[in-house]
């Protein structure tokens, strides 16, 4: 087990280094932060001095070496825009994203498993067709559109929920609902497919021969076997949520890491971009590890 974790950690470290190199140089190709930090009227000297102040005048390789050196000592640099440590900025935002992702995925997984399983149990039936069409439409509607319509309906017209922001539990409902739609549609389809396979398998026949009821057959016998591909997809979807739900965060004024990343690259706040990428990549790595553990937990055949 430990050996497995170590092997994965090495692989991830390689990916992480590749990621840093790529982001570092690519982001610097996108332009000069001085032009964005200072107003258009600022003089050339002011811009020059700004670059000098933030070490942007050194050759890229020197900057890179300095950055790597700093990161190795745990220093991720300062945010150009916010004049505070980039890591603090990122971690603050990441906590929000993490909660948003965890809660959303928990709800999505729960709902998709129940709906997908029931659809599979009566494959081709009315419920199956209905859930297919709904999940498909859900997967092809732009989320910003849904978000704004939801605000208009539920906050403005019905006044049931706050429009946006953070503060109470009610504030979470709309963003989570909007984020819910797309992964739900995808995971329902995967659960359905996987469950159809599991329900037609031989051990389900055995269970029926034992006189086990439909409920336990679906949710005890078949489901656990059907979960492996489902968990993979849940992982992929969770990863994309961890990378930040930019649109939803933007519309609902949710202080997450996705909006932070996009804002930071718009403002060429490179240190924040890099720190954000590192933190999310690390989180995704840990999540993948958890998923592998879940595999082993669900399926004893994988344990060694």
């Amino acid at each position: 087990m430990l050996k497995f974790v170590r092997k994965r950690a090495v692989a991830s470290l390689i990916s992480l280094i590749g990621l840093i190199v790529m982001v570092f140089f690519l982001s610097r190709l996108t332009g000069d932060p001085a032009a964005l930090f200072l107003p258009v009227e600022a003089s050339a000297e002011m811009k020059e001095q700004f670059r000098e102040l933030h070490g942007l005048n050194d050759p890229l390789l020197v900057q890179f070496a300095r950055y790597v050196g700093d990161v190795l000592t745990g220093d991720f640099g300062e945010s150009l825009r916010k004049a505070r440590p980039a890591l603090d900025v990122v971690l603050e935002a990441f906590v929000w994203t993490l909660w948003l992702a965890v809660i959303t995925m928990a709800l999505v997984a729960g709902a998709a498993i129940v709906v997908g399983s029931l659809a599979a149990f009566r494959a081709g039936g009315f419920f199956d067709r209905l859930s297919s069409v709904i999940s498909l439409i859900g997967a092809s509607v732009p989320d910003f559109w849904v978000a704004i319509v939801a605000i208009v309906i539920f906050s403005v017209n019905l006044a049931w929920l706050p429009t946006s922001g953070t503060g109470s539990l009610l504030h979470w409902i709309l963003p989570i609902s909007v984020l819910f739609i797309r992964p739900f549609g995808i995971i329902v389809q995967v659960v359905r497919g996987s469950m159809i396979g599991a329900l037609s398998s031989a051990y389900v026949k055995t269970a029926r021969a034992k006189g086990v009821k439909s409920g336990p057959i679906i949710f005890v016998h078949a489901l656990r076997n059907a979960m492996l591909p489902v968990i993979t997809v849940i992982g992929d979807q969770a990863a994309s949520l961890l990378n930040g739900a930019v649109i939803v965060e933007t519309i609902f004024g949710f202080p997450g890491v996705g909006k932070l990343m996009i804002d930071s690259i718009l403002q060429r706040d490179f240190n924040v971009v890099l720190a954000a990428i590192l933190v999310t990549a690390l989180a995704i790595f840990l999540m993948n590890l958890l998923i592998d553990l879940a595999y082993a937990l669900l399926d004893p055949r994988i344990r060694h």
Binding site: F37, L38, W160
Partner: protein, 499 residues
């Protein structure tokens, strides 16, 4: 249901307890979060809107609400010394929010801090091309000597925020100022809270506490005021401004124009530039893509600015005239067929894509070949500011310029002088007028600016001036507040009254 309850509570509150009326906390929702609350960055609008004059005050203050001109704030009065330097007499008994007393040393430190190379204070830009030396005369008197002499130095001082002399040169995250409010909570990404100080030197405002929230989407901002989640949104979309009881338009200080690069044929020909101006049906935009209330621009600065020239008339919409001018130019061998690129910034102002597409269509109607290119802010800046790229084709940059400072000097040099960073041409007469106007005060100054504005518009045909824009705000009915041109950059809580 809940909404009714809230409304009911509000009505009850106002009907039964007049004692509460008149003061209380408010919530303000802004489009863009302040990433810094650094006083010396307060000239940037997303920061200034929160702390300028609320937390950090300046020596002088320009009145944009009335017509009082430059008013005293931390300086009680000022005069010009014989040697051209300016002497400011400071208000006494003023305390910073950290309890220290305000004196001339703080003013000197504040100024030195802005000019320091240890930081990137943006208000330094107003002091480009001059050397200003502050000298403390006594605790409550300070001299500023500028070389060359600056007739508008007191106006410039309305841009210098005062911090205690203990403030480090590097950027701070907890602004300390002499203003009526102090920062009590800043949760990045969520909110900023300013709370009224008990020991403020001036009149006590109605607003006891202001919570700033940030939402990027304009319809969300409008919805928040409607649902009572916020009391004031200084900028909402024109489309959402449908309720006359809460939604107000106001002339903001933004001017939209097309900057022409005179260096490249065919834009080097004045007839071509005039044709551009005649081809555009400016009036058709008003009330359609540009909100009702916006003004057609004849200068890069809005009307209340010193020297704004009422005699300069907007170019008429005259496609025939434009075609004729083009034919003339063509007859003289000007390559009017060369495709011209209009470079615009995406999301620069509301409806920018539609407006630019419409302008493109109108120019094409009279025979121009026009490409439209949308770029993001950093790339736009490369087209807009010098040095321009070598080997470029004929280019027109659509841009928006903001001058709410009351004096054209903040615009004219940058946009029109030969050395100006965004200037698309070089004209000795323009340079001379700018230089002369900058050196004088009063009516003389106004006259020279007027002359320059007319010359640029009628003779040089420097650019295609389009609109002085209006903004829309939604103000809760419990507040008494009318946004002004200043609202873009400053939002003084003391000006907000609670009914």
């Amino acid at each position: 249901m809940k909404k009714m309850l809230v409304l009911g509570a509000l009505m009850l509150g106002s009907a039964l307890s007049p004692a509460f009326a008149g003061s209380g906390p408010i919530k303000i929702v802004l489009p863009e979060e302040a990433d810094l609350l650094e006083p010396c960055m307060a000239t940037r609008s997303n920061i200034g809107r929160i702390i300028m004059q609320n937390v950090s005050e300046t020596l002088t203050e320009l009145d944009l609400r009335g017509d009082k001109g430059l008013m005293p704030r931390l300086a009680e009065k000022w005069e010009q010394n014989a040697d051209g330097s300016w002497r400011f007499h400071l208000r006494q008994g003023v305390k910073f929010s950290d309890g220290t007393a305000f004196d001339a040393k703080d003013v000197k430190h504040s100024f030195d801090r802005i000019m320091s190379d240890k930081n990137a204070c943006e208000s330094r830009r107003y002091f480009g091309g001059m050397t200003v030396t502050p000298t403390v005369v006594d605790d409550h008197t300070i001299d500023f000597k500028a070389d060359p002499a600056q007739p508008i130095l007191p106006l410039l001082m309305s841009l210098v925020t005062i911090v205690p002399e203990e403030t480090p040169l590097e950027f701070v995250r907890e602004p300390v100022g002499t203003g009526p409010y102090k920062l009590t909570n800043w949760t990045p990404g969520q909110q900023i809270v300013l709370t009224l100080r008990d020991d403020y030197w001036g009149a006590k405002p109605d607003v006891t506490e202001a919570t700033y929230l940030f939402r990027a989407d304009p319809s969300v901002r409008a919805a928040m005021v409607q649902t009572g989640e916020a009391d004031l949104s200084p900028s909402i979309s024109q489309l959402d401004a449908t309720n006359p009881a809460t939604d107000f338009s106001y002339l903001d200080s933004e001017t939209v124009y097309l900057r022409i690069d005179h260096n490249i044929e065919p834009l080097n020909d004045v007839r071509v530039r005039r044709a551009l101006n005649l081809a555009i049906d400016r009036q058709a935009f008003i009330g359609t893509l540009v909100p009702e209330g916006a003004l057609l621009a004849t200068a890069i600065v809005p009307p209340p600015t010193l020297g704004w020239n009422p005699d300069v008339k907007v170019f008429p919409f005259d496609p025939e005239g434009a075609k004729k001018l083009l034919e003339e130019a063509k007859a003289d061998g000007v390559k009017v067929e060369t495709p011209i690129t209009i470079i615009a910034r995406s999301a620069n102002f509301p409806n920018v894509t539609e407006i630019m597409e419409a302008i493109q269509a109108q120019l094409q109607d009279v025979g121009f070949k026009v490409d439209l290119k949308f770029v993001e802010v950093a790339e736009h800046e490369q087209y807009y500011s010098k040095p321009f790229k070598e080997g470029r084709g004929p280019q027109i940059v659509a841009a928006m310029h903001d001058n709410s400072k009351g004096d054209p000097s903040f615009s004219m040099f940058f946009k029109y002088a030969s050395d100006g960073t965004q200037s698309g041409f070089a004209d000795p007469k323009v340079d001379d007028l700018i230089k002369r106007a900058s050196a004088v005060v009063g009516d003389e100054r106004a006259k020279l600016w007027s002359e320059l504005i007319a010359y640029l518009h009628n003779d040089v045909v420097a650019d295609v001036l389009l609109f002085h824009m209006v903004g829309f705000s939604r103000v809760s009915e419990r507040l008494d507040f009318k946004p002004t041109m200043a609202t873009n950059s400053t939002l003084q809580l003391s000006e907000i009254k609670i009914k």
